[in-house]
Amino acid sequence: MKRVINYNNTCSMRFFMENSKTFHRKKIVTIFFGSLAILLFLAGRLGYLMIFQSDYYTEKADELHERERSIKAARGRILDANGTVIADNKTVCTISVIHNQIKDPDKVVEVLSKELELSEDFVRKRVEKYSSIERIKSNVGKEKGDAIRAYNLDGVKVDEDYKRYYPYDTLASKVLGFTGGDNQGIIGLEVKYEEYLKGQEGMILTVTDARGVEIDAAGEERVESVPGNDLYISLDMNIQSYATQLAKQVMETKEAERVSILVMNPQNGEIMAMVDVPEFDLNNPYTLPEGTDTESLTEEQKQEKLNQMWRNGCINDTYEPGSTFKIITAAAGLEEGVVTPEDRFSCPGFIMVEDRRIRCHKTVGHGSQNFIEATMNSCNPVFITVGLRLGVEKYYHYFTQFGLKNKTGVDLPGEAGTIMHKMEDMKAVELATVSFGQSFQITPIQLATTVSSIINGGTRVTPHFAVMTADREGTEIKRFSYPASEHIVSEETSATMRMILEQVVESGSGKNGYVEGARVGGKTATSQTLPRGSGRYIASFLGFAPADDPQVLALAIVHTPQGTYYGSQVAAPVVRQLFENILPYLEKMDYN
């Protein structure tokens, strides 16, 4: 203790006596100024961060704090030629709960389970789950959603959403296509015109804490969504529906595998109907046809079946056109001048091409006939002769000039290309078979388009559906235009072809396509499917009316009919019935 006091004394004494106070003081002052200097430096650093780097870090911080909730845009509707809405949106609601905002959990459980017809346990589990937002049920009808909203329950969120809705279910399913979970087009026009239909999503910017819970006080920033444009198409639901009926009918009576019917305006390429039965339900596009054993299928097999179901035979598949293709051979021959309607031919029932004996469908032969009669008889040897007169090079030239080598450019996805011999591989035998429509494949839309172009005066048209886009009020926004190449055949040849084809229907093989009081031109076809000798046929008929000034062209293709399989007996009546109904209708509609 004594020592301590001593030291205290010495301490005090030294502090005063040694004049050391000066250096102590000096040193303490240096500490202060050292601190001052460092604090100044730190203040400078703060200034740098909070003035010059402020924008950068503010943006980064906002990114961290703000959550985007998108507002879906209403998808544009699709309207047919009469302005009938054929693809629409239905408002559906998603019901969710926000754990932190629920004030009366029992009431919430009671109301939601009652209104949504869910078990109380199911709802309670979700209500009591500690999460930022928990979905209870989606795709709830708008009325239900409104009813739940009317309870005004804290922590219950009713979000409205749009769901695609097709009022005609299966009608034109393969043309329209459908949309997926995000309202994006999957097949058909829905995907082709996605950019016009989809609109622009809006968003709600909200500020949240680190758990993602919205902070009410921070308010929200809203960018409204822009609805998509309506798409007006040339398809006429009346024609489509009648054509579908006919197709179903013939499929049933002839126990056919598939029936395709294409109706288009040969003058401008507008497609009025495109049927490919069996069709599927657009409102349930993932449901396989009834009777399909889905249990035993793997996911892959199921997807394969779905793809098969969605396939549009009119554009996605090719077939051997058979005798309908004689129209093309005839047009090429007439155009090149290797044949005239008056030229006479003799058919013994077969023709020798090099060492091959190619039979006519009438084995006893058609005897003596002029070119018009030969077409009416659909006489193979005559058309082989015409083809051979043209020669490979010329024939190939016209094949190309008619546009058969290219795709038609129809505004649907997945158009198949033409499968044709290479010119250098084409010898007399190949040329002979091509001349009457065999040994190569094209799509139905290709045939219809090419024939349209031949009979409309020689203008190669682009087949299409889309006419224009418009806003909700119907004000036009964009009118679509399609390429057309003129003079693929002369006007004269075109007129001759119309005349010949009218004869075919009037008194030739196509007389089953004759419509009382109308001038119809056309051509039948019966083609055997590959492999030959399987007994499987494709019966088809291509007709147009009025024959002197074609305004409508129809192509009916019946795949694998049972019993009678001739195009003239199976397919021609289909087109006749169709024309009987739609010709007066089109006249009324001012198409004529």
Binding site: S12, I28, I31, F32, S54, T58
Partner: protein
């Protein structure tokens, strides 16, 4: 300066008999009280979200606990301020021994872990951070030791003798309580006290240069190592250095807290978002009420608020200087220098960490960050300083 002081002192003059006029530093007291009150407000702002989430909706959980510690600290401060500071000199050695024992107690079942570090002990329901005790003990011990050694401290031998005990304690704090920042502070306090007691500069400049050189070399080696091998090869502390140099490259790991602090500071701008309006405290910023509270101050009160707080601390340091310079004896002066060093180092390191000026190391902001031991021992230290200040006779000023 002295002239100014005298005038100031005169203003503080009490109506007491002439010759007995004594000094009481109301400025210091005011600054401390202001910082405490401000600290509680900011603590509530920074912690209420976290508290209401984790303590059954009690948004004032941290505020209440801190308020209790603050009141206890103020009582301690008043007590200490009214006891002549020489009273404590007899506890100089025992204080160091007690703090060493407490540090070792962290390893026993009495110690407990929080926020991933084992730094606390719990005795009779009170939890104490031994490092805080050690800081006060070292200040007391060195003030006493340096006085006892007198001129001997000026030799190299004395130099190392004085630094030996704080060095040992610093190493213990660093290794046992895994608290490198407290170790730095303890050693820093010791160096500053020794610096004041010796007329020599060269030795300290040399020490400073060596220290800086070692740091630069370490950083250089770590960067080289991480480039030649991988970022994981440099260990935890090395990782912190790399995250310091480029926090955005380590955004999901070591750089996360630093980056969050920069977001808070940067987004505060000049005027800040307003009191209570911080977004970063809403779960984004780890330790928002603790080591990182300064970044929340920046975010809410802006550059203006941040610099105001730095000014308040500067004012505090200035008062320490005034009191130290006018202390009646070396022991008193050294006590004040110790406290001055403690607070100055801690403020500087905290702000430097939060602004990513130096690598991240857990360090709290005196009087403002959440922490009971810290605020109690700091207030006890302020009590000591006030007690030293009371010894000043106005005629000496």
């Amino acid at each position: 300066m002295i002239v100014a002081e005298r005038r100031f002192g005169n203003n503080q003059r009490r109506s007491k008999p002439a010759g007995q006029d004594i000094f009481f530093d109301y400025t210091l007291l005011f600054v401390v009280l202001f910082l405490l009150a401000f600290g509680l407000v900011m603590l509530y702002s920074a912690s209420s979200y976290d508290a209401s989430l984790h303590y059954e909706g009690d948004s004032a959980y941290f505020l209440k606990r801190q308020a209790i510690s603050t009141v206890m600290g103020l009582v301690a401060m008043i007590l200490v301020a009214n006891i002549p500071y020489h009273f404590w000199e007899r506890f100089a050695a025992i204080g160091v021994i007690i703090s060493i024992v407490l540090i070792f107690l962290v390893m026993t079942p009495l110690g407990y872990e929080a926020n991933g570090a084992r730094r606390w002990i719990r005795i009779l329901g009170f939890s104490i951070q031994p490092a805080e005790v050690a800081k006060l003990a070292i200040i007391l011990f060195l003030a006493s030791l340096i006085c006892k050694m007198g001129r001997k401290t000026r030799s190299w031998k004395g130099f190392f003798t004085v630094l030996m005990v704080p060095a040992i304690i610093a190493v213990l704090v660093w290794q046992i309580t895994e608290n490198m920042s407290s170790a730095i502070i303890i050693f820093g306090i010791a160096v500053l006290m020794l610096y004041v007691s010796s007329p020599d500069y060269k030795r300290f400049i040399l020490l400073g240069v060596v220290g800086v050189a070692v740091c630069v070399l370490a950083v250089f080696l770590i960067v080289k190592l991480s480039e030649s091998q991988s970022a994981s090869a440099v260990g935890v502390r090395g990782g912190r250095i790399l995250a310091w140099l480029d926090p955005e490259a380590y955004a999901s790991g070591k750089g996360f807290q630093t980056l969050q602090a920069l977001y808070a500071i940067g987004s505060g701008g000049i005027l800040g978002k307003g009191l209570g309006q911080s977004k970063q405290k809403l779960g984004f910023m780890p330790e928002a009420q603790n080591d990182m509270i300064f970044s929340i101050i920046c975010e809410e009160l802006g550059l203006f608020g941040a610099i105001s707080i730095l000014l308040m601390f500067l004012l505090l340091i200035w008062r320490f200087m005034v009191i130290a310079n006018n202390a009646t004896d070396l022991f008193g002066a050294l006590l004040v220098v110790g406290v001055m060093g403690h607070i100055a180092i801690q403020v500087i390191l905290n702000v430097a960490v939060v602004t990513n000026t130096i690598p991240n190391t857990g360090i709290s902001l005196p009087f403002i960050s959440y922490g009971g031991s810290s605020v109690m021992f700091l207030l006890a230290e302020i009590g000591l300083v006030l007690s030293v200040g009371r010894g000043i006779k106005l005629k000496d000023l």
